[in-house]
Assembly symmetry: C2
Homo-oligomer: 142 residues x 2
Amino acid sequence: MNSQIKAREVLAMHGISPSRPRVAILKYMQENFVHPTADVIFKHLRSTHPSLSLTTVYNTLKLFAEKGICVPLSINDKQVCYDINLHPHSHFFCTECGRVFDIPQDESAQLLQSTTLGGHRISEVHVYFKGICSSCLPHESN
Amino acid sequence: MNSQIKAREVLAMHGISPSRPRVAILKYMQENFVHPTADVIFKHLRSTHPSLSLTTVYNTLKLFAEKGICVPLSINDKQVCYDINLHPHSHFFCTECGRVFDIPQDESAQLLQSTTLGGHRISEVHVYFKGICSSCLPHESN
DNA sequence: ATTTGCATTGTAATCATAACAAATAATGCA
DNA sequence: TGCATTATTTGTTATGATTACAATGCAAAT
């Protein structure tokens, strides 16, 4: 299939050898454009890949994140979920069902003050940056 | 002291009885305008409140959050930290030292595309909303 | 002083994630 | 083709944050 090839291509582009579990996990993320946790992926692939272990899923997701294939999201305090959508966009986390929805960036920019967004009722807005703070940065020239 | 009074006032305003641990925890948060985890608070108050238990800190922070005195932040995947600053603002998480800095909202709005912010080097931008999604919302009239 | 009910405590349980060592597969080369 | 070397995967065990829960303590009201 197409996504099978695509998954292998993506792995190759990032210098990752295309082992069975890696291809399966990436393919899953490409086909199911959700924001899965390690556990969700594990449970979905269990039937078709009986030997797959949860540890492998964790390792693989961490590897993907390091290589820039996906991004870990700490939206809720329980589990980390992963996003293969690398285009700039925001997220909406439903406190009822726990699903994470993608929100186009321009939509979210103007709606930072609004209370509804695409039919969802917003109760919290979170914006945060990650990086290296001024005191941890190597000092340039003094 | 002033903040002692202020802490008790805030508790009263939110219908929370001012027990020793609650006053101490709130006072700590008001005086040290950081973004502490339960553990950080516990360790700081341990010396002056020898009988304090970690469970009480967890319970109290959860209570404060429910009553709207503070906001839990899931910025990093390890521990939840709490913010008593309720004014709209963004956060900067340093991946080196783990500290969380407040970022004025207007500053962050324009700098969503920038790579530095008040001397910090930005590598990730996260925007997310929380609320109830359209399918979990009670249907209005149909 | 006694009751009543909330608050705190300490311990034990849970759950996500990481560490680690053993088993397995993949790759290159004689 | 068959072995040697290295990378991956697996299963189990450990860790660390958070919660559950039962027992104790405390404070206001009678």
